[in-house]
């Protein structure tokens, strides 16, 4: 089993940034970790940043769709952000549509999409920056 993917909490949103070439068991572990963290923290949103992913094959695509479905039944919304254009082209040709998955251009827009009215995008981003510094 390779390293697990870290999950940050920013306001009421969880942020996952996939920086490694994701192997299958790590992807399944991430799915479990996210479900557990949503329940434990009461998060209302999940942003998955895949800008580090060079490919999304059917296994990873299914993981993204499952995370969206799992978080939905746990009352959280998922947004996948940062997909590279070459990845998008390839995914479509492969036959993956990511039907039930919301997408946004980048982390900033993904967070803004999920932030509750009282958490402005700006304050969320400041919190995100602070959290990153403190690691």
């Amino acid at each position: 089993m390779s390293d697990s993917v870290p999950i940050l909490k920013i306001g009421s949103t969880l942020l996952v940034s996939i920086q490694v070439d994701l192997q299958d068991d790590t992807a399944l572990q991430l799915q479990e970790d996210l479900a557990e963290r949503i329940t434990r923290t009461g998060a209302r949103g999940v942003v998955i940043d895949i800008s580090g992913l060079e490919i999304v094959d059917s296994f990873i695509g299914r993981m993204l769709a499952s995370v969206a479905a799992i978080s939905r039944v746990l009352d959280a919304q998922t947004v996948v952000v940062g997909m590279r254009p070459a990845v998008a082209i390839t995914m479509v040709e492969l036959g993956l549509s990511l039907g039930g998955v919301r997408t946004a251009l980048d982390v900033e827009r993904g967070l803004a999409m999920l932030a509750p009215a009282h958490e402005s995008a700006e304050s969320v981003l400041l919190a995100a920056a602070a959290e990153r510094e403190s690691r």
Binding site: D21, Q23, T26, I55, S58, L96
Partner: protein, 139 residues
């Protein structure tokens, strides 16, 4: 259609664990860059290789992948061969159908990777293992 490309060096990887599938992706990426494939073509080829290597592992019970840089005088390209000595595929038409899986997959591995590469061929029979060959050329 078979081209008879002149090969350079062949790299061989065992496929026995999830981590090997990642190694196959990385090797194919490297050779695709050497072959000067466009970024989109690299991405398509690596994605196909990931699907096929996973099949070698999951359905073939493990096996190996050979990757080589090829050239036909005009163009360079990448050939990858995925082989196992697993149960083989009894009904190939069915296995090549979008959405059909005998296991837990999405059933897009074979059909989808066929769309992602330029040349695609399968050699399989029940009890005789499976060998999938793919080739993509630079433009």
């Amino acid at each position: 259609m078979t081209t008879a490309p002149s090969a350079t060096a062949t790299e061989r990887l065992e496929v026995r664990a999830d981590s090997d599938v990642v190694r196959v992706r990385q090797l194919v990426r490297t050779v695709a860059q050497q072959a000067r494939l466009s970024l989109v073509d690299q991405t398509k080829l690596v994605t196909a290789a990931s699907e096929l290597a996973r099949n070698t592992l999951v359905y073939g019970g493990g096996g190996e992948v050979e990757v080589e840089l090829v050239a036909d005088g005009r163009r360079s390209g990448v050939r990858a061969v995925f082989s196992d000595e697993g149960p083989g595929i009894a009904d190939l038409d069915l296995a090549l159908t979008d959405g059909w899986t005998s296991g837990n997959g999405l059933g897009l591995g074979l059909s989808g990777s066929r769309r992602l590469v330029e040349q695609f061929s399968i050699d399989t029979a029940p009890g005789a293992g499976t060998r999938v060959e793919i080739v993509t050329w630079s433009r």
